[in-house]
């Protein structure tokens, strides 16, 4: 299995110049940024890139952002949440315009990635767990799964402040309606949709246990979110019987 996967080598990494094709509001605090990256070799679902900004005085700041798209071609889609104290994200969310250029390094990440089963057969079920903007690489994974028409059972548990803060809502709905088995469940931490009696509050061990594929089905679990979210969830997953090697984590943070 792993031998087969290794035959699908990851694209080579390098520094590239990216031009902003489009930037638009994704949520009240986030922007969706479409880049045209010169020489981009394509990327796997779940990978990220580093963005380097250089000030006129030569000061540079580099930050990592997950990629919401995957596959061949030079188009790359990011979704960036504005961190109030951030050094880079407020610029990317509020100032960046079509036609601007950025330096990007990627595609990066050889661990937090998903590939469709190489033999076309059904792989182990996949449970995706997102906290806030940590959903971005999981959107790439869910869309790759849908586009491959892969028969592997997929679920996404998505912890988000309010319905207005959901990233890629249309894309997730489209993936859930497609032929590839995919279900989405939301945990609203501040406000649930009007007219529903969904509970509101941070994810608990009980809600996690009720909302994810059970350990008896031996799923591969991808968890992405803030450090606190990832470590709480990963700890509970192990208590619920999931094996540490079946849990792939990515902690984000940082401005």
């Amino acid at each position: 299995m792993s031998g087969v996967q290794q035959l699908q080598a990851a694209p080579r990494t390098g520094w590239h110049v990216a031009e902003v094709v489009e930037t638009r509001r994704e949520t009240p605090s986030a922007a969706r940024i479409t880049l045209d990256v010169d020489g981009w070799p394509g990327n796997l679902a779940g990978q990220h890139l580093d963005v380097r900004l250089t000030a006129p005085d030569g000061y540079t700041a580099t930050r990592s952002y997950s990629i919401a798209s995957s596959g061949d071609g030079e188009r790359v889609v990011l979704a960036v949440d504005r961190l109030p104290d951030g050094e880079v994200s407020p610029f990317l969310v509020d100032e960046l315009r079509a036609g601007d250029r950025l330096e990007v390094h990627g595609p990066l990440g050889a661990f937090f990635v998903w590939r469709p089963p190489a033999d076309g057969g059904t792989g182990r079920p996949v449970q995706l767990i997102a906290g806030g903007s940590g959903v971005v690489p999981l959107v790439a994974i869910a869309r790759a799964h849908a586009e491959a028409g892969d028969a592997t059972p997929f679920r996404l548990l998505y912890s988000v402040r309010t319905p207005d803060d959901v990233f890629f809502a249309d894309e997730l709905e489209t993936a859930a309606r497609g032929p590839a088995p995919f279900a989405v469940e939301f945990v609203y931490t501040r406000r649930a949709p009007a007219g529903t009696d969904a509970p509101v509050g941070r994810i608990t061990r009980e809600r996690l246990a009720a909302g994810v594929i059970g350990a008896d089905a031996a799923p591969v679990v991808y968890v992405c979110g803030s450090t606190g979210f990832v470590e709480r969830v990963a700890g509970w997953l192990i208590e619920l019987g999931h094996h540490q090697t079946a849990i792939r984590t990515e902690r984000y943070g940082g401005t």
Partner: protein, 90 residues
């Protein structure tokens, strides 16, 4: 201090190796645990990054970047296991 994980070092390490090694496994000299570099706990500061074993907290590597040079010290890990079959640069 806020920490992240080894996924964050994919870019800097890809500048050192000929590829991104975060999917490769290494053994912690402290406790013997074997895990992907992506699972290390990474602490960043203005001076650079320190990566620790998620199981025992021992320092596995440090990375200091500045002044046009990068210093990488794999101080706490044994051999790194790298898949060579199928890699496009193998």
């Amino acid at each position: 201090m806020q920490h992240f994980d080894g996924n964050l070092l994919a870019g800097p390490l890809a500048d050192v190796f000929a590829f991104d090694p975060t999917g490769a496994r290494a053994r912690c000299n402290g406790c013997g645990a074997v895990a992907e570099l992506a699972t290390m706990l990474v602490y960043r500061s203005g001076a650079g990054s320190v990566a620790r074993c998620r199981d025992c907290g021992a320092v596995l590597l440090s990375l200091v970047d500045g002044d046009g040079r990068m210093f990488v010290n794999f101080i706490g890990m044994g051999a790194i296991e790298i898949a060579t079959t199928g890699r496009d640069d193998a």
